[in-house]
């Protein structure tokens, strides 16, 4: 008899625990989130041409342009600065000696880099990178030195 009473008590308590859930009125909630457009740009690695002599053309070198944290698809532009050597009165080399393209082409078929922007004609996005190919041709009589050039990739969003 005692055992039966205990069983009945447990069953009653369980029923009481379930009742509010079962009898509660149901409701659905709708939420909306607006994801803002964001963009950024990164490029790597730096371009390290092999040592060259005047009138020689380099091999193909590439850099990858990406959008690490952005969420929209964009086409970057490219521009560059003149090559500059070292020392107090450093020698220079025209920016356009560097040619670029979207694939490994002959130097003459690539686009000369310029101080004005040009579209790289290849989109980048959250899941898409662009590879830019570079070649350099050294002019005849170019002064021997170590030269550097800045290449800038830009996006507008």
């Amino acid at each position: 008899m005692k055992y039966k009473l205990e069983t009945l008590t447990v069953a009653l308590v369980s029923l009481l625990a379930i009742i509010p859930t079962v009898l509660a009125p149901s409701a659905s909630v709708q939420g909306s989130v607006t994801v803002e457009s964001t963009c950024d740009i990164a490029a790597s690695p730096n371009v390290q041409f092999e040592p060259l002599v005047p009138s020689q053309t380099s091999t193909d070198h590439t850099t990858t342009v990406s959008e690490p944290t952005g969420n929209i698809v964009l086409t970057p532009t490219i521009l560059g600065s003149a090559w500059i050597g070292t020392g107090e009165t450093p020698p220079t080399m025209p920016v356009g000696q560097t040619h670029w393209a979207n694939s490994d082409l002959a130097y003459a078929s690539m686009t000369p880099l310029d101080t004005s922007v040009a579209s790289i004609n290849d989109a980048i996005g959250p899941e898409d990178n662009a590879t830019v190919h570079f070649k350099l041709q050294v002019p005849n009589g170019q002064t021997a030195d170590i030269y550097t050039q800045t290449i800038t990739f830009e996006i507008t969003c």
Binding site: C39, D40, G80, F134, T148
Partner: protein, 325 residues
């Protein structure tokens, strides 16, 4: 009522800038960029020319002369200690004669050259004497200028002694049309040969080689030497050029080596340059410690001096007959 209007104005004043900012923000674009650096080391280009082009084994040629012309750097800045000569594919290297170097525009192209020379006997023992002849070797000359390395190559052919038994060569007549179109006649003693204008020239010679090398070669030219002079006219100095008829002869005295085939004739040795002034009937002679000529494609080039062509150089001499046996 007034209080309400004032309150509205205050709110508008506070909210308006914010509204304008967001309105502008919603229609403007952000520009962002990234930069990479491109870098390159540009080394000097080197044009290397080593002479002679053809060398007879066992000849008395003492030196292999090499001329270095740089592109993108000044030959005067070459680190002499860095210079070495090697032969492509063979071991061993050779340093230049430390007692000799000369700068000049030896090839007359407007660029300064550095002349250095390597001991031929050592080159023989290192490389040339170990092969059946004839044999062509690629000489590789390396060095540095202001810490930038350069390298260039040229070929030299080593042939058996007296590969040519006999060669004879002569310019076709004493024609004005045959006068050399390019020359480099420098100041020697009191005579400035750059002021010489040529009427005509002649060049001829021969060599025989059996057990030993014998031969003769002479270049002869006549023309005018425009000698600067000064005269006083009532104590006023007047400068003028005195045109003096001269004859210039270049004579080989000794041959170190001579080679010839159907395409080329080459001799090197030493000799003398003599200037004969027909007006004053005076003459001056100058030793040419080094003297050579090359006939290639029917045109001769003769040059000589203390160490190369520092006294005398004439090229583009149209040759008539060349006989090689």
């Amino acid at each position: 009522m007034k209080e309400k209007v004032r309150l509205v104005k205050t709110w508008v004043a506070m909210l308006l800038p914010t509204i304008i900012f967001f309105a502008l923000f919603s229609v403007s674009y952000a520009q962002t960029n990234t930069e990479i650096t491109a870098s390159v080391s540009i080394f000097p280009g080197a044009k290397i020319e080593c002479k002679p082009d053809i060398l007879s084994a066992g000849s008395s040629v003492e030196w292999i002369n090499c001329f270095i012309e740089l592109e993108g750097a000044n030959a005067q800045n070459i680190d002499f200690q860095s210079l070495t000569l090697a032969v492509d594919g063979l071991s061993g290297s050779l340093s230049p004669d430390p007692s000799f170097k000369a700068f000049n525009d030896f090839d007359d192209d407007g660029e300064l050259d550095l002349q250095i020379r390597f001991n031929r006997t050592i080159a023989d023992s290192l490389w040339f004497s170990h092969f059946n002849l004839p044999q062509t070797f690629t000489l590789v000359l390396t060095g540095s200028v202001q810490n930038f390395p350069f390298s260039g190559s040229d070929t030299i052919q080593i042939i058996s002694p007296c590969s040519t038994e006999k060669a004879k060569y002569t310019q076709m007549g004493l024609l004005k049309a045959d006068k050399p179109t390019k020359g480099n006649l420098n100041v020697i003693g009191n005579i400035d040969l750059s002021l010489y204008s040529q009427d005509f020239s002649h060049f001829s010679g021969f060599f025989l080689c059996k057990d030993r090398l014998i031969g003769n070669a002479a270049f002869y030219t006549t023309g005018d030497l425009n000698v600067p002079k000064t005269a006083n006219f009532f104590r006023i100095p007047i400068h003028y050029l005195d045109k003096q008829p001269v004859r210039i002869s270049v004579l080989f005295k000794e041959f170190d080596d001579c080679v010839a085939n159907s395409g080329i004739v080459h001799c090197s040795g030493s000799g003398k340059l003599i200037v004969w002034n027909e007006g004053t009937r005076e003459w001056e002679g100058f030793d040419l410690k080094t003297l050579r000529f090359d006939i290639v494609n029917g045109k001769a080039k003769i040059e000589g001096g203390d160490f190369w062509n520092d006294i005398f150089s004439v090229e583009n001499i149209q040759m008539g007959r060349i006989t090689v046996k």
